[in-house]
Symmetry: C2
Subunit: 154 residues, 2 copies
Amino acid sequence: MPDATQPTADVAHSAAAPGEGRPRRRYTIGELAKVFEVTPRTIRFYEQEGLLQPERRGQTRIYHEKDRVRLKLTLRGKRLGFSLAEIREVIQLYDNAPDGDERQLRLMLDILADKRAAMQQQLEDIRILQNELDDVEARCQESLAALTRQRNKD
Amino acid sequence: MPDATQPTADVAHSAAAPGEGRPRRRYTIGELAKVFEVTPRTIRFYEQEGLLQPERRGQTRIYHEKDRVRLKLTLRGKRLGFSLAEIREVIQLYDNAPDGDERQLRLMLDILADKRAAMQQQLEDIRILQNELDDVEARCQESLAALTRQRNKD
DNA sequence: GATCAGCTTGACGTTTACGTAAAGTAGACC
DNA sequence: GGTCTACTTTACGTAAACGTCAAGCTGATC
């Protein structure tokens, strides 16, 4: 099932560098994993698939806000049934502002239209499924009410 | 990507039995496959997974309206990122009107609430993703407009 | 009656998205 | 300096959802 749980995803832990204006939060892989309720393995895998590009301090990875946002986007995409490859596409859309080429821009707009159509279809699908759930629930409630009436007859 | 294409799924082919009121449509596996744009293999697999129970005429499968509806439901579920196991659950919810047991009924209502929560989360996810797409599109349009202005300066 | 399209059942292969275990490293603490 | 804990890479394993043969049956048509 597309998991309905969504993390608040804001932890206060690493310190701001002294004399620095913005907090400039940094995360270890374990912290991010805990926050989003995934395993470190998953996060490394996403990196391997080109969805994340954390900084390296020697051998260990250091994640910044950008990475956190990307991970969040990734998990959201997964809840919507996107494959990692598709999510990567979206991410590349997102931070490739193709300023130069007009052909590129038009292509991008086309792709966006496609994604938008997919979203639209999803909305429709959800609407229908919700109706079906309503249906089942109504029948359940009815059965339950019938049972209760039955019992009160005594 | 959750496929945005959705088949109209109404073909006129098999005949109604003579003297019968309703059309009583029947489908071969190939017909269903074509209508929904999946392979026969997929449909057999869904049967193996307990999502479909077509009639058998000797060795060959015969699909009725009920099967068509189930297949449609299944594909809709897939577009929403449900696993086949979860879809089977929903289907069982759908045609198990548990008239008898109160405990069963209450459990069913709980499960329904869960599914409903998942749907709700999906709606939220879609809303957010649509906003992000809007964002990217706006940037694209802006770049494009800038290019056009540039060109018109000549 | 041969051929052909479309159905059937195995059975093994493939992709995706990780899980899991092994073996090593690096910093913090006693 | 030993011990933890949390990180690292490498590598093999696995579940889900089919794809892809292979080999055979079956009804229609030439």
